[in-house]
Structures are given as C-alpha cells and as structure tokens.
C-alpha cells in the first residue's frame, strides 16, 4: 500500500547526533593560467544538501567546498578551497578526528602540470596541455588507521552499478552512492536518483529532490555507522 511504501521519518535520535561529519562538495578548479582553468559541471547541490541533512540530525558538520555560489547550510562550518590539492590538504587535516567522511565533491583527477603565471597569449598557446594526477582524497582517508567511515560518490555516464562496485572495492571504502550523469542528469539539476552500495548490501533511493535524497542517505549512513560501531 501507499502507506507501507512511504518512508516514515525516523523518530529515534540519529547515530550521527553529536558525531563529527566531514563532507566535500562542489567542483574543483585546476588553473591553467591566471584566467583559465579546468572545471567540471558540479553545482555542489548534492554535497550541500547532505551537509544540511547531517546538521539536521545533530551531527557536527564541516563542509569543504570547491567554487560554488551556494549558501552555507545553517549550523555547518564551511571551508572554501579551489583546487584538488587544497581540498586534499583541508580534508586530511580534519579526517583523523572525524567519525564519517562523505566525499560528494567532483574532484579533478588531474591538474595541469605547469601552471602559467601570466595569461597565455592566443599566438603563444601550446597545442598540448600536460596533465599530472591529483592525490586521491577518498583513498587517502580510507587508508587512515582508525579513520572515519568513508562514503564515496560515483557519478557515471555508463555501467553505473558495475563502475560503482569496482570503485567501492578499489578504494577500500565503506559505502558508495552511485548515480547516472550526462545531459540533464546529475549535475546542475535539482533532483537525482542514487543507488547506495556497501560490502554485502545495497539500497535504491529512487528519483527525487536532492534534499530528500540527502536526508535518506544520511539515515542510511547513520545505520551503517551504528552497525560498524
């Protein structure tokens, strides 16, 4: 029946109440020169919604955000960064003290090898841009001794579930939230659908507003945190 299918709001206190939850959000910008950068289409909406949802259940939330125009959710401490390296540093400074780390940012895998200190002129442009890998923030946090419960995101254009499962295993993380992106899906839009996987289980959080998805994800993270505790 409709009644059974509706998710009743939990009345118990969340296992995350009073816990330190570290969240990344938004894109990163990797500078090419003083005016150009490599960016991505992440608006930060999902990460900001998760931060708001975690604060709502009483967690102490630190949100590390790449360039985003979104307002800081009430009760959330915000740290602004631009590049993947800055985000790595900000996260690793705080992760050892966190209970949960949720990596919702769309971090650039690669940065430009040699950032130009002056604007590159039209006629002086290299025809190749050399890229070097950025540090893998999620993998680094998952590798910490006595580190936080780690939750990753997999924004995929193809084979969403297979790719998400591979990422869960390869990075050694505790949970992954997978979604399909592409034209009009996932990025720069207000709703989304997630499949959340963990070793030995998964749950579908169907297509709905990001704020509602975020609340359900935080409930599920609370469950897994409680189970692991």
């Amino acid at each position: 029946t409709a009644l059974e299918q509706s998710a009743a709001p939990s009345t118990r206190p969340s296992p995350l109440a009073g816990q330190s939850v570290l969240i990344t959000a938004g894109p990163t910008h990797e500078p090419i020169d003083p005016v150009r950068f490599i960016g991505n289409r992440s608006s930060g909406r999902m990460g900001f919604a998760i931060a708001a949802a975690a604060a709502n259940v009483g967690a102490r939330v630190c949100l590390i955000s790449g360039p985003s125009r979104l307002p800081t959710p009430a009760g959330v401490e915000r740290v602004d960064v631009e590049t993947a390296e800055q985000m790595y540093q900000a996260v690793l400074d705080r992760a050892p003290q966190a209970a949960v780390f949720i990596a919702a940012a769309a971090v650039a895998d690669y940065r430009v090898e040699a950032r130009a200190m002056h604007k590159i002129k039209r006629d002086n442009q290299p025809d190749q841009l050399s890229l070097v890998p950025n540090p893998d923030i999620l993998k680094a946090v998952a590798g910490l001794t006595d580190g936080p419960l780690t939750v990753g995101f997999a924004a995929e254009t193809d084979d969403v579930l297979d790719n998400a499962h591979d990422k869960l295993t390869a990075k050694g993380i505790d949970m992954i939230a997978a979604n399909a992106v592409g034209e009009g899906k996932g990025f720069e839009v207000a709703d989304n659908a997630l499949t959340v996987l963990w070793p030995g289980g998964h749950r579908e959080l169907g297509h709905k507003a990001k704020t509602q998805l975020a609340a359900e994800l935080i409930d599920l993270v609370g469950e897994r945190f409680h189970a692991a505790d």
Copy 2:
C-alpha cells in the same frame, strides 16, 4: 575643479539610439568530456553591464552570452551559448546586420581537439590534452565588408597598454578597451578600470563600478560611431 572634472550626463540623444548593437559576454566552456570543461573566470558582469547601458540609450541590443548566472538586462534580447564555436556562429549570423559589435566575452582561444563522449576514468586519463585553435570571432567580424563598428576587450596581466595597442592593430578593429586582470582584479569583481584606445586616440575611464564604466564606454562608442558615420 571638481565641477570640470565630473562627467556630466549627456542630455543629447545617443548616436546609438535605434541602432542595432551586438554584444558578447561571459566565459565560454570547452568540453573535455560530458562532465569536464576548460573555462575561465569571467563572470559576464562587464558585458551584461554594457548591454544594459546600450539598451538605456535606446539601442536595440542582442546579447550573446556564454554560461553565466546573471539576469538578462531589461529590454535586451539574449542568446545563450556554451562554446566558442557556438558563439562564433551566433555572432556571425547577426553581425552583418549590426551597427556596432562589442566583444566583451572571454572566449577560449583553444578548444579540446577530441571531446570524449563518455566520462574519462581516473586510470584511463591521457596525460596530454590536445588543443586546437578556436575561430577568432572579433577578427572575423572586423573583416566583414560594410561590417559593424568593432569594439574589443584586452584583459591583460602584463604590459596592458602595449598589448592592447598590438591587438587593436593585429585584429583591425575600431576600438579596444584594455584592463588589467589578475588576483582580485577584473574578473569576478564588481568594479574595474578601463583604458579605451582607437586609432589616433585614447581615453582613461578610471577605477569605478562596472555599471558606471559601461555607461561611459557606451557614450564613447556612440561618439566614435558618430565620427565614423
């Protein structure tokens, strides 16, 4: 005296009243794959302010904008584009019928040679990004027979005046507005300073709000349009 130095608002009708003015604004985004792109720090504020100022003096304004969250100024027709090639096409479709073309967009000089149709995986990333030149919109418009009066921008990090003068000559345009950019200057800020050059003259429009600069630039463009008419 202060009275002599202040720029009194013009009471005569602008030479641009009733004229068709085509303006570009904002950054362009050059896709790397479905989620990544090369962008730049232009907010679009200067171009949008110029469009508003031109509409204010009675011009018929078409604003061709790259990705920008700014609202469309009252009385302005807006065409949204993403890439430099799309902007080129939108401009060249309209420029032959325009009286004035003001190129305020920060157009990417280069695009990625081969756009990936699927998201590039972390472990599958090329360590070089091959770039190819985009068409030069301003130069193409300046080369039109019986084309519009052309106004370019030179956002420079060094040697602002020399670089602007070179650009005026190299592109064969009628006017150029030069400004210094860099950390905290020019892009993503609400004020600016411009030096406007044309063959045989120049005028300093000192540091002030972009809306005020835009109004003074439109007055100056009107003067040059009248002189050339």
